[in-house]
């Protein structure tokens, strides 16, 4: 274990960590928005649209992220899509995660009790208000744990981006390991960085969950 090497490479490692966090958060943002739109479109009950979305989700979920990333980065230029490595990485993470987020949202929507929607229908609320005011809040509360889970998994998928030369943490670590022959130190440092990231996300998720579900739990002595 050589702290001297780690110290020398610290600027590169920290910059790599920054790129990792950036790719992860931007990819997740794209994935969340895209996944939400897919889940909404899915609710329209237009059969051809449903089949198309289902097929897309199955393809994305059925193939490794690495393969998708290669297709986007190396195959993209053949159809005139030339992306810089980091952009390709972010877009790739976004598309990949959107399939999983879409499924989580879809399940969340079906978890909204029919009675809540019936009550809103019976007072004459329109479908847009029912979606935004009634279904959505309940759906988000129901989905939050699996969203946090997906975010954590996604944060670790970012290591794959090193293969298309995105200068994220894994990439910097590999460079350090190759230049200084300190494979163990590199792997150890990686583990610490990722553990910090995941721990932060899961704590944040837990606090958020407690906040949004506070009104649902029957609190003792607060009746």
């Amino acid at each position: 274990m050589s702290f001297e090497v780690l110290w020398r490479y610290a600027p590169a490692l920290i910059s790599g960590f920054g790129v990792t966090v950036l790719c992860w958060s931007m990819g997740a943002a794209i994935g969340l928005v895209l996944g939400f739109v897919i889940a909404l479109l899915y609710r329209l009950r237009v059969p051809p649209l449903r089949w198309a979305l289902r097929a897309a989700i199955e393809v994305i979920r059925g193939t490794p992220f690495l393969v998708q990333l290669f297709l986007l980065y190396s195959g993209g230029p053949f159809i005139g899509l030339r992306l810089e490595a980091t952009t390709a990485g972010v877009v790739g993470l976004g598309v990949y995660s959107s399939a999983y987020f879409a499924e989580a949202f879809r399940a969340g929507f079906s978890a909204v009790p029919a009675g809540q929607i019936e009550a809103a229908t019976s007072v004459g609320m329109n479908s847009r208000d029912i979606l935004w005011r009634i279904s959505l809040p309940t759906m988000l509360v129901a989905t939050l744990p699996s969203i946090v889970n997906l975010l954590i998994i996604l944060s670790k998928e970012t290591v794959v981006l090193s293969i298309i030369t995105v200068p994220e943490l894994m990439y910097q670590m590999q460079t350090m390991a190759a230049e200084t022959f300190t494979a163990f130190d590199a792997i150890f440092a990686m583990a610490v960085f990722y553990w910090l990231l995941v721990e932060a996300v899961s704590r944040l998720g837990y606090r958020l969950e407690r906040r949004v579900t506070a009104f649902m739990a029957p609190a003792a002595g607060r009746s």
Partner: protein, 256 residues
Amino acid sequence: MIELRGVGKSFGALQVLRNIDLTVDKSEVVCLIGPSGSGKSTLLRCVNFLESYDAGEIRIDGRLIGYELRANGERRAMGKRELREMRCEIGMVFQHFNLWPHMSALQNVTEPLRRVRRLPAARAQERAMQVLTRVGLAEKALSYPGHLSGGQQQRVAIARALAMQPRLMLFDEPTSALDPELVGEVLEVMRSLASEGMTMLIVTHEMGFAAKVADRIAFLDAGRIIDYGPPRQVFHESREPRVRQFLQTYHDRNSF
């Protein structure tokens, strides 16, 4: 006020409503009773078109609900906007309250006032507090449904419907999901509504309440109204064997 003529409905091969005729006049209280699966709830839900009907007509103040008649006599589905307009004049109370869990009691009542009646926030809140006071829950206005008892939740649900100032109210087994001790407070609110002249159509298993409050009782069995009349007549003088058998079972179960 509510007029049903020859109403019929099937779920696939199963006919749940057959040729139902029923009229509820203004300020009248009509209770629908009968064994489970007889079609009471389905009938009630057809009145505000939460459930569609296949045959016959349901009219609210003379206006057909759910369908539009065309010049050639055909009918087609009513426009969404028109249907919403009709629904907001019909209050409905559900067996499982169906309050929105992410909103306080007050917000549950103001939400439809804001979104449907388009009242400004202050006016909505004022009216919501009036109805919550009326059902005896002013001090629970800021509580969330999860923190209220079943009886309190159901009273909030009644307040939510009432705040819309509906022309009539539908109740779908409003006390069936409640602990026996909490049934009274809900029935009390309903009784006071009836005495103030609200038009009410109620599906219930509370025979005592039906006997005291209803103007008419309709007994449903297998999708048909097999007996209809004032409570005394249906409860004590019915000649229908099915009705007598049902009431006998009810008596046996409730005497100890």
